[in-house]
Symmetry: C2
């Protein structure tokens, strides 16, 4: 499951030392102190690799493109893992997260961002045809829940 290179080891070690949640660029600067010739591309590739291997988590990764909605009433959205289509989620309590998340490292919690991840009916149909009924595993950026 991947080779043991100095670069990969250093990136993982340094990330494990950090209480913050660094960006790739920050990690690059840090790794550089130990491996002056390391490249940013390598950092990106290794972070991706480590995340896929489940050794680290990649956070804050909503797809890069913004979407817009003329319906400003409070509702949440589902994003299709396959085609990226966005749908509305209805039938949820308006404020579904039972917070006052008490312990938040000194942060005042003001709000939250919640987006569901799912599969749209069209992609489900296509997947069924190809017999790939449930192969898609995905980085959701959060623990989340899998359906039985």
């Amino acid at each position: 499951m991947g080779r043991d290179t100095a670069q990969r080891r250093v990136i993982l070690e340094e990330l494990m030392k950090l209480p913050s949640h660094p960006t790739a660029a920050e990690l690059y600067e840090i790794a550089r102190r130990r491996l002056p010739r390391i490249s940013l591309g390598t950092v990106y590739r290794n972070l991706e690799h480590l995340a896929r291997a489940g050794q680290i988590r990649k956070l804050g990764v909503g797809p890069t493109e913004a979407r817009f909605d003329a319906d400003t009433s409070p509702h949440h959205h589902v994003r299709c893992v396959q085609c990226d289509r966005l749908g509305d989620v209805l039938g949820l309590p308006e404020d579904p997260v039972p917070v006052n998340p008490t312990v938040a490292e000194g942060y005042d919690i003001l709000a939250y961002r919640l987006e569901f991840v799912g599969r749209c009916s069209q992609c489900r149909a296509e997947a069924a045809v190809k017999g790939l009924s449930d192969n898609a595993e995905q980085d959701t950026g959060a623990p989340g829940r899998k359906q039985p």
Copy 2:
């Protein structure tokens, strides 16, 4: 609160017609059919303006930079509205969203992405000094909840 231009009107009208949740580029293509000389920059500026004015919602907007975390245990994160620092949220039930969000336009819900928005202690301190105790209003990309 902004001028009444053909571009802004067309963008809003077209967005209101659409059941999907288009990207800026998609909206640009559509608006173009009515205003062939409209530019993509104008579409971006107007979408931003409309979102600030509360007439539309901007979705799927996590900050663009990915963050990495060596702690793979299930926990959520808070992002500071001011400095973008990321912290851990503890003391939450492991699976805080009471789903089976029943009605989801035919989507199978697989998981969700949840991130809190807050203010870190350092920014709170700075804000207090400047007397700006609570001016920051922000696009959270989701309804969320405000603290009393």
